[in-house]
Amino acid sequence: MHNNGHSVSYLDYKGKHSGIFAWILSTDHKRIDLLYLMASLLFFAVGVTFGFLMRLELIAPGKTIMDAQTYNSFFTLHGIIMIFLFVIPGLPAVFGNFFLPILIGAKDVAFPRINLLSWWLYILGALLAVISVFLPGGPADTGWTFYIPYSIRSTTNVMPALMAAFILGFSSILTGLNFIVTIHRMRAPGMTFFRMPLFAWSLYATAWVQILATPIIGITLLLVSIERAFGVGLFDPALGGDPVLYQHLFWIYSHPAVYIMILPAMGVISEIIPVFSHRTIFGYKFIAFSSLAIALFGSMVWAHHMFTVGMSETAQIIFSLLTFLVAIPSAIKIFNWVATLYKGSISTDAPLLYALGFIFLFSIGGFTGLIQGALSVNMHIHDTSFIVAHFHYVMFGGTGFGIFAAMHYWFPKMFGKMYNMKTAKTGFWFLFVGFNTLYFPMFVMGWLGMPRRYYDYLPEFHIYHLVSTIGSWILIVGLIIMFTNFYKALRSKTSYTAINPWGGETLEWTIQNKPSLENFEVIPTITAGPYEYKDNEENLMKEDS
């Protein structure tokens, strides 16, 4: 089953096309993964730049570096880019594409050409988003939520932005569709559902949400476009439409979308923790099922974004109650991860640091989510910077750190190179400290009454904004350290040949670094669960005898 690295890697094989076409027309899941990786990192850089400039603007009250219109466009673009172009595809389309087939012992995804089509749709959507910036009228200034009626009144380029989100939605749907069929049809012999690695489980749960919830935002954004173009009145209050209904439809997708973003990150953490503890995962089935539970409950809590719009009392109670319940499966995951550390043999390499960072930051994100789920408190902190902080703790501290963890974890496998471990850890600490300095003051500000999406603020909030802006600088230093480290590793001449640097037991660690086109020379037959560290038991027996 092990092969000794003689096969041509996916980076080097010669296909039908040459040059750049060998990449942008390739249907190999690993090449498509790299296309996604490069594109999404590019957009991440753009999104970070917008965020950085916004923080700079807020360093002092009043106008500092930009005017209000620019600021409003910046937070809109920051949101659209980060959510639709980085966080949503970040784990499923990037790492899922590369590792899902390998983790379940398959040679590719079920529909390789549709996989390529999703990437092209992604690029098309991204192009539309870019175009909306440069067309006359200026970039959209509606916020990524496109709330009606502002989004039908605004004279900026809302249409291209809506279309971009619509197309990106379909890209995401096709990825999800591909993954579900891949998991159902292409598992290696012996790979039962309960022998699948937990990353595959989390992608499976994610894929269902992608398929079932995304069309709702598709149609909703389409209706907003039709509203803008023809004035049919479906949401326009002037014609009898209901702006609250728009919010319902928007959040029916957009709340589950948060789980599209976080679930795969949880899957990555579930991979990393047992490997670096060198023992089997604690409560495999509970973690697997909690992913499904999150997907299910996550589809039923959307209106907790709308407690202040004046919904019926019944709806307030139901959605608040369900919101509290959705915390349970996440809590189960966290407890099981911590329990997996117990009696392990823990090596604190960079991927584990990021994973533990994830647990800490995501926990804060989760707990502050509970605070918002309480109806009376929500009345106060809704639409304040408390929400901004909570959201970033979940999406950046959670998913973002999950993506960084995945990068450090799978980097040697993907590229056959190794980064500098010490620098990676330094990078982590900068990111961790910078992150908390940047976002924690927002909790305090929000509780004190600082509304969000504010270009300007009252002088009493100055100190918090100042600290937060300084935090953004530390965070960016961390990002630079991390990405320079990767870049240096990629450029280095020495290739890394150890196929299992962390001592993982899942299938990707049995094949060569820079896997071949076919991934496996011979499709493996699976006889045990994914994290069975047999040597633990053997050693124990040896000690006994």
Binding site: Y13, N178, I180, L239, G240, E518, E521
Partner: protein
Amino acid sequence: MSSIAEHTVEHIHRDDVGSRLGMWLFLFTELVLFGGMFLVYAVYRFTYPHEFHVAAKELNTSVGALNTIILLTSSLTIVLSIIAIRKNNKFLSVFFQIFTMVLAFGFLINKYFEWNIKIHHGIFPGSEILLAKGNGEILFFGLYYVMTGLHALHVGIGMLLIEVMTGLTIKGRINSTNYVRLEAAGLYWHLVDIIWIFLFPLFYLIT
């Protein structure tokens, strides 16, 4: 070490069940897409029951019923074309596929005249006659145009899809042992039919 070429040959395998599974998943996205609009419909119908009632009187039930019959029949013909190809009767299969397309075209023509008459009467989004009516009626016609319009778009896409299948059948690439693509097109067509089965009573039969 075996060469890559051998693997590529091995790699080309067919999984009809997988393809159908994929198609069904795609249909769910279409279903939810329309589902979103049904949600909008349900809410406004609930808010303005009387206005919807009045507005629906403007629609011609016979035209709707005729279109229902056309679509149901086309659903039958597409299913028959699959049976024909499974029985290795290429001619009959192509015949039924073309028949399906003719019916689909008939549906669209019918729809065209229906819309045309409405527009001539001055009932279309943003028209003065419509804006003079109550909010509920504006919403009813807004929904009517958006939902039936999007449905008609799907009928058009379905026609194109079947046309491609007809081409493949004639070339023999769809045959009695490999017809999963025709099945997928058929599934799509049936979904378009199912959506109409709901649109029909919701718009034409609430008078």
